[in-house]
Point group: C2
Chain length 258, copies 2
């Protein structure tokens, strides 16, 4: 079994939460991979350098200056901080972008209809699972940030959830794989105010019902769609849970079969 775990900004931005999470991650047995998002550090960095965020329809455009900043913050500061902390916990981490060993090739998103700049999309079939397998076989723990490259010398800013899904699918070509998305909530909830309303299992039929009833919040819809897609394409188990509950079986399991 290979565990692929994804953490986002809510964990990264809070040093004690990050350290507690990493202790749990380090304690997980067997082969494992960490994928991390960005957090607010890149925004803080841009602001301190006087670089204004360029937004189109509420989404950030990755121009050249922003690409340099996210490369520095994600692949440099955050990735290497996590690697050093994991190493101190006895976890033999190796930090990677998709460019390293060409492990995750990406394609720059077409400039039409909207040019989001240096943003990349990933074809999970192209992930270099052999390099991942050889690192895992040596007892290494790959730690991915969401920077990839186009293979022609240009780095690209990618979506960390998509990286996690692509890496999990690649890992499932090596061994049975479990993909865990850690976030600030205890799971997918029918009532966001009630921590006891976590839905333990979501299948495609239930997802359609929840969506039709408007029970699933807007931001959760693409997350669940991705989770269902990963499950249907070969990832053995997909779980959405709180970063505090990595070692428990709490949270929401997403399964492609009813």
């Amino acid at each position: 079994m290979i565990n692929v775990v994804k953490i986002g900004g809510n964990v990264i931005d809070n040093p004690p939460v990050l350290e507690a999470f990493l202790r749990d991650f380090a304690a997980m047995e067997g082969k494992k991979i960490l994928v991390h998002g960005g957090g607010k550090e890149a925004t803080r960095m841009s602001e301190s350098m006087g670089i204004k965020a360029n937004m189109i329809e509420g989404r950030r455009v990755t121009d050249r200056a922003t690409l340099d900043i996210v490369t520095m913050v994600y692949a440099g500061l955050i990735n290497k901080r996590i690697v050093a902390l994991l190493q101190a916990m006895g976890c033999d981490a190796v930090g990677l972008t998709g460019a390293d060993g060409n492990v995750i090739p990406a394609t720059r998103r077409p400039a039409k209809p909207i040019d989001y700049g240096f943003v990349g999309d990933i074809d999970p079939a192209k992930v270099n699972h052999r390099f991942i397998a050889s690192l895992l076989d040596e007892g290494k723990i790959p730690v991915f940030c969401a920077i990839c490259h186009d293979g022609a010398g240009t780095l690209l800013n990618c979506n960390a959830d998509s990286i996690a899904a692509a890496v999990a699918l690649a890992a499932s070509r090596i061994d049975d794989t479990r993909l865990t998305y850690c976030f600030e909530k205890p799971g997918v909830m029918t009532d966001v105010e009630d921590e006891n309303s976590v839905i333990p299992l979501i299948t495609p039929t239930l997802f359609e019902t929840l969506k039709a009833q408007g029970v699933v919040a807007a931001g959760m819809i693409p997350k669940l769609q991705n989770a269902l897609k990963s499950a249907s394409e070969g990832v053995k188990e997909v779980r959405i849970c709180s970063s505090n509950n990595l070692l428990s079986d709490r949270g929401t399991i997403v399964r492609s079969q009813e």
Copy 2:
């Protein structure tokens, strides 16, 4: 034969020079490793963020803010730019700090007599040559920046020349190793104004003579001492040459035997 090549700021700060150098590096046959220094980007970055360089006796102190910046710039921006360019040239590069795979453990320099902050020294005997060997065996090209860690969760700023020497010594435990220091001059010269005054071979006796005569410039003395040390400790050949001459045999060869 394993080639370990070190480049510094003069190459990194000049994109066309960097690209030309990387083309030559990509064209080198066999197993190879690149070590890169920093360049002026970290200074520019600090200035744009309003962080003042803290100097003691002419040497920069790596305080927490400076450590974050060098980690971002060296391990993020510069390292990943080089990796992406090498990948585009068909060279299967993997960017690493000393923390990744615990490949280069370092020790924080004692705070007395002068506290230089988060600065590390390396014991070449502790370099993890097995991880380097396994990457090379898989056809990967390790690309090191000069950020290491103390094994207790803290990253440390190290000297890139020392990293190159330590990596070359580790590589020489795998196979015969050649270490090449690329810089802006064609080699060690008796007359810095005369490009034809390159000394083709320096041995310990000649080094002592040149030093006594004041022929070797101040900045070149530690470089030559390190080169002689590497040669005496098992690196097959050490060469100091211009970054334009990587593929030629020009420059200064440093040998530990007369």
